[in-house]
């Protein structure tokens, strides 16, 4: 119970820090984002007083009210769920833009991360178990792939598999011309077809890290005394590998997985830029290009929430898997 409470307090503090950062950044930076936004909004259509008030509360120009008053107004605005109006997707409210783009990102990057984790852990387990085998010698190669800049790999694959040999489509999340979004088979097929190449690049560039981490933990755990005891007892190698060694070796990888799950939403920005995928990263970049500060703030908020949520979930799960963490706190 104490463990749970400690964790909850920490995440509330982190959330507060993120919200405050989100409040302070536009106010500390040079320039006047509110005027910029309002003048851009005005070119697209009439600005209602409520919209103006919402944007002022989020980005702040109220020179006559104190910083404290502005802060309360900002928090109130967030709690009521009004994140302002987007310029880039005028006249849609920011919350709606996020609602439309988020499923794409979570679907693509989330799935790719899970696949990469599962395959990487299995390969790492094999490499650590049989050291010096061909699979172990694969490790330096996959680690090299990790230091290849991710977007460059994506560009190369896009160049080779999109332009030179057109196996995969060049961009987009589905074929806009021939299928209609909804619960139908052609749409689903189109999504899979468009998502394969981005997912492949994510898996290729991230699998090495999982493999290396798991392999090193396997190697460290193998030299523990309890493994020697298990061997002395005459247990089958298979049982030792999966029940004794891998079970202990996977623990650090699980907490790494938590962090990367949270970064599913965050890490997608560059991917989506390369593949022009209709996810939240593209929305953020479009917002940056259009000086759409309200949308930028909203996206940053959602990304932070996702990271915090994923971390909290795994922290709680970790307490169940590894009782030592509960005992320590």
């Amino acid at each position: 119970m104490r463990y749970l409470l400690r964790k909850l307090v920490f995440y509330v503090a982190a959330l507060w820090a993120a919200l405050t950062l989100n409040f302070l950044i536009p106010r500390l930076m040079p320039g006047n984002p509110v005027d910029l936004m309002l003048s851009k909004l005005a070119t697209k259509g009439p600005v209602t007083p409520t919209t103006r008030a919402a944007i002022e509360a989020l980005l702040g120009t109220d020179t006559h009210s104190s910083l404290w008053a502005q802060y309360w107004k900002y928090l109130h605005q967030l709690v009521s769920g009004n994140l302002g109006t987007s310029i880039a997707y005028f006249p849609e409210p920011v919350s709606q833009v996020i609602g439309q783009t988020l499923p794409w990102t979570v679907g693509l990057i989330g799935l790719a991360t899970v696949i990469s984790f599962a395959v990487g852990i299995l390969l790492g387990r094999a490499a650590g178990w049989r050291r010096g085998s061909w699979i172990d010698n694969l490790i330096p190669v996959t680690t090299m792939l990790q230091s290849v800049p991710y977007f460059w790999l994506a560009l190369l694959l896009l160049f080779l598999l999109g332009s030179t040999w057109p196996v995969f489509p060049l961009n987009g999340g589905y074929d806009v011309y021939s299928v209609t979004p909804g619960w139908n088979l052609p749409f689903a097929q189109s999504i899979v077809y468009h998502g394969t190449l981005p997912a492949l690049t994510i898996v290729i560039s991230s699998i090495g890290g999982w493999m290396l981490g798991m392999r090193n933990m396997m190697v460290s755990t193998l030299s523990e005394d309890f493994v020697v005891t298990a061997e002395a007892k005459g247990l089958t190698p298979r049982r030792i590998r999966s029940r004794y060694v891998a079970r202990n070796a996977i623990l650090p990888s699980i907490s790494g997985f938590a962090i990367s799950l949270g970064f599913v939403v965050a890490g997608s920005i560059v991917t989506e830029a390369v593949f022009t995928y209709p996810g939240i990263g593209s929305a953020l970049l479009l917002a940056v290009g259009n000086n759409d500060y309200a949308l930028m703030q909203g996206v940053f908020l959602i990304i932070t929430l996702a990271v915090l949520g994923a971390n909290l979930l795994v922290d709680l799960l970790y307490g169940v898997i590894d009782p030592r963490t509960r005992a320590r706190s």
Binding site: P26, M29, P30, G31, R131, M144, S147, L155, L222, I303
Partner: protein, 281 residues
């Protein structure tokens, strides 16, 4: 000196030399010529860009720019992470609690979106600002690693002995504890340098990097915008990416070697070798 370390140091050394000496030898990288998109050869080692700029000259300047980012961020990360990681763990008590809370909060706040957010508010960024922002968003991970290790060193018997024999606190920290942390610090700095170069490249690729600077990322940005991919101008977009990959790979090789020094379990003794001693059934 293992083979890994040798190869890593060799590749990294060549790239650093190229970044230091290259810009002194090549011509102006921004000179526009009347020969757009010519392949390698014809007096240009790596061909020309769309507007006839020398790709090789650009690569030399870009190498210098990216290395500067890497070094500055590496140094700043070292300072921040050792302050929050080592000092907090050494002092203990509420300072440790506060430092560790701060570190963990910085760790969970997503870095890249924050960098994008900050850089989108500042229209004209210098290379130093970009480096500072990258450092601020990336030190927390290594601070946590350092804290964990410092905690374990701090409670070792020889440190207690030093305390009892009346050594001063700063002396215990710098003479007794810090030398044990050096390999770990080194590998954290190497990580920070890789992270910074990749981060800056990503940022510049999105068009949010330092204005008017040459880095590997800005080269890729211009190549992408100049449709180098569609036009098949591989000599334009391949070299900067390859340079990042090679440098990153070299640094990871160096890091592997450091890891093997810190953790002898990872060294070459294999399970098969160990099993030779056991009694065969």
């Amino acid at each position: 000196m293992t083979l890994k370390l040798g190869v890593g140091l060799g590749i990294a050394g060549v790239i650093v030399l190229f970044g230091v000496i290259g810009p002194l030898v090549v011509g102006n990288p921004s000179t526009v010529r009347d020969m757009g998109l010519t392949g390698p050869g014809n007096g240009f080692l790596l061909g020309t860009t769309q507007t006839g700029q020398d790709v090789f000259a650009q690569l030399a300047y870009a190498t210098r720019g990216s290395l500067i980012i890497g070094v500055v961020v590496g140094a700043l990360t070292l300072l921040l992470s050792s302050f929050f990681g080592i000092v907090g763990a050494f002092v203990g008590g509420w300072a440790d609690e506060a430092f560790s809370l701060f570190t963990n909060i910085m760790l969970v706040i997503p870095g890249l979106p924050l960098v994008i957010l900050i850089s989108s508010y500042v229209p004209n960024k210098s290379i130093w600002l970009v480096a500072a922002v990258l450092a601020i968003t990336s030190w927390a991970g290594s601070a946590r690693v350092l804290r964990g290790f410092t905690l374990s060193v701090r409670s070792r018997d020889y440190v207690l002995a030093a305390k009892i024999s009346g050594e001063k606190r700063w002396r215990i920290l710098f003479v007794e504890i810090l030398p044990n942390l050096i390999p770990l610090l080194a590998s954290q700095v190497v990580f920070a340098v890789i992270f910074a170069i990749l981060g800056e490249a990503g940022l510049s690729f999105l068009g949010l990097g330092a204005s008017g600077s040459f880095t590997w990322g800005t080269m890729l940005f211009y190549a992408q915008n100049g449709l180098a991919l569609r036009l098949g101008a591989w000599w334009w977009f391949a070299p900067p990416g390859l340079a990042i990959a090679l440098f990153g790979a070299a640094l990871s090789l160096i890091n592997f070697s450091i890891d093997e020094i810190i953790n002898p379990k990872l060294r070459s003794q294999t399970r098969a070798e160990r099993n030779k001693w056991s009694v065969k059934a």
